[in-house]
Symmetry: C2
Subunit: 389 residues, 2 copies
């Protein structure tokens, strides 16, 4: 068996990027040179989206203008609204998001203008309108009317407002804002790579974002946060965590939320989310979900260290599950909320893929595969007409 196969492309560098730096050994993450810890502490999703799109932090006038542009793009076309109203209520949120993004393309006057500026305009529309779509769907499927977007709340607070039909308290709004900052980009992860790959064929912005949404929906990627919460609900009690972890590992099953392709230490985002989960739990007098998650982390680390002599660490999905749960977000909506936050990153990567002045110039991603199937010699297998088979 070949050891040279580039399984999952791990460790294979496929491009240069100026967007995000990950140091998997030191557990560091920077957007455009700025440490995720500083951004989580002092920045906002609006500022981070600006930083990712425009390559530097905004000045005061810039952020005022950018925020206004985002707010002005919150309404969705009537056609998309009507589509949501007619969708079967059992439709999965990620399927709904994946099918509505290409509908937005119908209405974008910049669709076929292949300039950086036009793509930034499309990106701003996508950031704003997808939040409205996800929130509208969350209400429509429960038989509620969609809540019209706020004209003044920040992006994350507006999402909670549209989900729940009432303004969130300041702490919850700020916590979700921090979640959005933490999820905004993560370099060449599977969904971002899918977006870049589609963009590399010169497909338009919406086609590329739609591919990214598909990749994020998988449980090995963004689907993990929903899976973690389902697990917590299934286990049900702090006392049952150890037994559950042991059974999973004995059966050779994966523990969702644990382990990462790039980090060989704790994901810096997980540290921040862990604190947040504990803090929200204390505030609500409901620390159970945090305690259970912490036990999953501890027990999994301990067991893997003992049995495989290797370290395993929590990733961004482990603690975001309980955080979203305590914010009152539907469990099957977590991956869509992840998609909304990652929108700024995806858009920035598509723009970099299309317009970066790199040498050698980027070309369409088109790998090869080793053919190991049927082989009948240089003329191929003999085709026998169906009557003689």
């Amino acid at each position: 068996l070949k050891q040279t196969k580039n399984i999952g492309l791990r460790g294979i560098s496929v491009a240069d990027t100026k967007i995000t730096m990950i140091d998997g050994i030191e557990g560091r993450l920077e957007y455009r040179g700025y440490d995720i810890k500083d951004l989580a502490k002092s920045s906002s999703y609006e500022e981070v989206a600006y930083l990712l799109l425009f390559e530097d932090l905004p000045r005061r006038g810039d952020i005022v203008e950018f925020t206004e542009r985002l707010i002005s793009e919150r309404e969705i076309p009537d056609a998309v609204h009507n589509h949501l109203m007619n969708r079967p209520r059992s439709a999965q949120p990620m399927d709904v998001l994946q099918s509505t993004v290409p509908m937005l393309a119908d209405f974008d006057p910049d669709l076929l203008e292949e300039t950086r500026e036009a793509n930034i305009r499309m990106g701003i529309r996508l950031i704003s309108k997808t939040a409205t779509i996800v929130a509208a769907w969350s209400r429509i499927r429960r038989g509620l009317s969609p809540q019209k977007p706020s004209r003044d709340l920040p992006h994350a607070a507006n999402l909670l407002y549209m989900l729940h039909g009432r303004e969130p308290d300041g702490e919850t709004a700020r916590d979700l804002d921090v979640c959005f900052v933490l999820h905004a980009d993560h370099s060449f992860n599977a969904s971002t790579f899918a977006a870049r790959q589609v963009a590399s064929t010169r497909a338009h912005m919406y086609a590329a974002i739609t591919a990214a949404i598909g990749a994020l929906s998988g449980e090995l990627h963004g689907g993990a946060n929903t899976k973690v919460m389902k697990t917590l609900l299934e286990i049900g009690e702090v006392e049952k965590v150890r037994g559950w972890v042991n059974r999973q590992l004995e059966q050779g099953r994966r523990i969702m939320g644990m382990g990462h392709a790039v980090y060989k230490t704790t994901d810096p985002r997980a540290i921040i989310l862990k604190d947040m989960s504990e803090r929200i739990g204390r505030r609500l007098g409901q620390t159970k979900w945090y305690e259970m998650t912490r036990l999953i982390e501890e027990e999994t680390r301990g067991q893997i260290l003992k049995s495989k002599r290797k370290e395993i660490y929590p990733n961004v999905d482990l603690y975001s599950a309980s955080v979203y749960y305590m914010m009152g977000i539907d469990v099957d909506l977590y991956t869509a909320v992840f998609a909304l936050a990652r929108m700024a990153g995806w858009v920035s990567h598509i723009i970099e893929e299309k317009f970066a002045e790199a040498q050698p110039k980027p070309v369409m991603y088109r790998p090869e595969a080793d053919y190991i199937g049927r082989y009948c010699g240089v003329l191929g297998c003999r085709y026998i007409p169906i009557e003689q088979r």
Copy 2:
């Protein structure tokens, strides 16, 4: 500048495959061991789809049953039909296809069953229903009622029937059937790789197909056939071809339909399509489009050989353009027709990605990138609060 970067992943093998073999030097293409020339001559799209999905040629009973299954899946859900009726008529066909595929997921009872059999059932539904969607959209956007699918015509003939509202003649039906055979798979091309990449996250079949549709829409990939025909219409006359080619090359522009990432000789599919284009042209007494295409090929090859001392060959998109045009298919529908044919290949690759018993086991595709952006040292750039910027 690095020479080691894996630009576009060219020449990088990312997996083993048993589906399709391409010999780019000899110009050979085999599906499951069978030469494309034999399949184009003696097989049908139904048989090729069976071959790709079930790994061997069907016997008579198998193909009867498989054909019946395909026919029984041609109807689309009312919700999708109604969506198409309400879509703005200016919507691009590939955007329409990309947004309706995730809607089909709403109605698939096998959606969350992660078995090979369930994925084959989903694949059969996708092959049949996407043809109905594309044909319906082609009529609806012109203000016509969609044509209900035939209950007995083969797949390609049924597409022409649904597009034009009348049964095609036998020769045209067989020609499109051959086009479908030729387009059914092409190993790890950009759209198939996008599909496999999304499937590698354990996203469902529909999410992965939707990503592939996005990748195919790009003009460097499936969008090229539409681009070729637009070019032919723009040039307008055989006499103007040489001048046009020379101007394009002088300005350093790409000639769509010429050149391929893998073939270093003529694409075997292009040879068959070239003959077909000439034959259809003679039958219709309208050889102009074939002659123009042939001249683009000759002139581009001659010029590139002279200026760059290298050979360039036609690819599958060069002659499919005039073929589809003479069949009366709308120019902006060619890429969607390509998608319909490629559906069998995409589905087979998604199944291989999810269920192949390979060692080492496939994991999620997650490449790396070299960070070349802003760097302020091991602590990151200093975050300055907005008031002080």
